[in-house]
């Protein structure tokens, strides 16, 4: 259970990075991804995944 970033949609704005409560957003050479081992899809948070809520691009971050 984890979220994943569609690289072709991502603008690399890093908005999700500061919002992720489990520090699961990884960046390497300007490309962002989500650590599937630590992401828990913001389990227990009322609004669901914070990365999705903060992302400016629709359908960029989806369930893996």
């Amino acid at each position: 259970m984890a979220m994943t970033i569609d690289e072709s949609q991502c603008t690399a704005c890093a908005m999700c990075e500061s919002e992720c409560p489990t520090d699961s957003i990884l960046e390497k050479g300007g490309v962002f991804s989500i650590d599937a081992a630590s992401c828990n899809e913001c389990e227990g948070l009322e609004d669901g995944p914070q990365c999705v809520n903060s992302c400016p691009v629709d359908d960029c971050i989806v369930r893996a």
């Binding site: 603008t11 500061s18 609004d47 914070q50 809520n53 903060s54």
Partner: protein, 504 residues
């Protein structure tokens, strides 16, 4: 590296005679110069191209694109779209780290002595990226302390950072405020991200409006100059912007900049895809005129990219890409910059004095006459651009009060290219169709004839002279020709605002 200076030494000031004439309320961050501003405010704006219409002829700005994240979505913005030929806010070709940004600033300052201002305007929101924004300011302040810092924000996070802004000596802040009524706002903003939560609809617009007003009040109470940008969206907020103007004026904003919506389907924005149109030049000017009471209205905004470099009418960002900057050996010459700026100060005083002398006798002649004219210029306040080379024309309104800058029209091509000379000329004519004359340094015979047929007089005789003084001198002659019957005043058509890319 050899510093390049726009040649303003090439001609002596044009002569003039007579006494001082009428004034009239200035616009555009005080086009008329310091006359109507307190000395402290004048000191803050006189070299800032985005705060002073007069300064924008002489001084350059650059934006460093260190702020990619944004905390709101606007219907006129699509963050995914970036084409190297595309120029509008929210768009940038390269993102920069604060360290690279600081180096780029030094490289540009060394090459362009006119550079007085560095701003952070995105491509997202400066304050949605506070660490990057303020780290950049700190680095610039350490290495180039004479450069003014400014930032641009949607205002949502602003109240949290007013103190930091003051601590970093940021003297100029621009807030984009498109509405004060959430009912209008929900048609502009689909969502905001606030306090770790996504808000939509009217709730989102209400929070945004409240935060913007709070931030504006906090800034002005600290004496920080605030410019308010508003995007004019016909049928959505056009009438409402009068109320926005009142609201920001009463909270102490220094300057209001009403900009036309840029909207094309190929931008992929909500407005572009749903066919929302932008305003015509006439609609824009009418709204600006309506809002121009005792508040300064900015009309020289070029709606530039988040990585723009140069004078407002140009974009030299391609000369300063990350790769090129990395290779540059930068020599920052503070003395040379100071000397240039002192020279410009003198030049501006001369221009202002020349214009005032020229005004003599105009008031009686002009009556209620009102004529628009276009000017081809590459800066320095002179008519110094060839007609065929002009990427834009500056539009001035001539009345009994003199010459007033009221806008600019871009005439470059859109990136699909393939236009022939004839089509280009048609584009130019449609852009300045509401003008009685166009002032150029030089023009070919063919375009001159075509312009004549369209009822636009091409004027070359003031080549390389001061813009405002020349316009007033020509206006006097024009009025005399009208009286003698040598010229006939024609009802002018609409001027079209170009929507496509700005290719410098």
């Amino acid at each position: 590296m050899q510093a390049r200076i726009i040649p303003i030494f090439e001609n002596k000031p044009a002569g003039g005679c007579g006494a001082t004439g009428g004034g009239g309320k200035s616009s555009c961050g005080s086009a008329a110069g310091r006359g109507d501003l307190s000395p402290e405010v004048w000191e803050k704006v006189k070299n800032h191209p985005c705060y002073s219409e007069q300064a924008h002829h002489h001084f350059a700005r650059m934006h460093v694109a260190v702020a990619p994240a944004c905390n709101i979505q606007c219907h006129y913005c699509n963050r995914k779209y970036d084409c190297s030929n595309e120029s509008r806010p929210g768009v940038v070709s390269e993102k920069l780290t604060p360290e690279l940004a600081a180096k780029k600033v030094l490289a540009v300052a060394a090459e362009i002595p006119q550079l007085t201002v560095v701003g952070i305007a995105g491509p997202g929101d400066a304050l949605a990226n506070p660490e990057k924004t303020f780290k950049t300011f700190q680095l610039i302040q350490n290495s180039a302390p004479d450069i003014k810092l400014c930032l641009s924000t949607n205002g949502l996070a602003l109240p949290d950072y007013v103190q930091t802004i003051q601590d970093f000596n940021v003297d100029h802040v621009t807030i984009t405020i498109n509405m004060v009524d959430p009912e209008v706002g929900e048609r502009i903003y689909p969502w905001i991200f606030y306090k770790h939560k996504r808000w939509t609809g009217r709730d989102a617009a209400k929070i945004l409006a409240e935060r913007q007003m709070e931030g504006l009040e906090m800034l002005t109470s600290k004496g920080i100059l605030v410019k308010v940008n508003s995007v004019m969206v016909p049928g959505v907020n056009d009438d409402h912007l009068v109320a926005v103007n009142q609201a920001v004026k009463s909270r102490g904003a220094f300057l209001h900049n009403i900009m036309p919506l840029i909207s094309e389907p190929e931008h992929g924005t909500h407005y572009g895809l749903t066919g929302q149109r932008g305003p015509s030049a006439q609609e824009l000017k009418a709204l600006q005129d309506k809002c121009e009471g005792d508040m300064n209205l900015m009309r020289h905004c070029r709606q530039c990219r988040a990585d723009a470099v140069g004078l407002l009418g140009e974009d030299r960002s391609q000369e300063f890409t990350t790769d090129k900057v990395a290779e540059m050996k930068v020599h920052y010459d503070a003395e040379a910059r100071k000397a240039y700026q002192a020279f410009v100060e003198k030049e501006r005083e001369d221009q202002e004095a020349a214009m005032k002398r020229e005004l003599s006798g105009l008031a009686e002649d002009a009556g209620h006459a009102n004529v628009l004219v276009a000017v081809a210029t590459k800066g320095s306040g002179r008519i110094n651009e060839h007609f065929g080379h002009a990427g834009e024309f500056q539009v001035f309104e001539l009345t009994a009060a003199g010459a007033k800058f009221v806008g600019h029209r871009r005439v470059d091509h859109y990136c699909q290219g393939g236009y022939g000379e004839e089509e280009t000329l048609e584009t130019v004519i449609s852009a300045i169709n509401d003008c009685a004359a166009v002032f150029v340094a030089k023009i070919g015979l063919c375009p001159k004839k075509d312009l004549e047929q369209a009822g636009i007089e091409a004027v070359e005789e003031y080549a390389h002279q001061y813009i405002e003084q020349s316009l007033v001198a020509w206006f006097k002659g024009y009025l005399a020709r009208l009286r003698s019957g040598d010229a006939v005043a024609v009802e002018r058509g609409q001027g079209s605002l170009r929507q496509g890319a700005f290719v410098a």
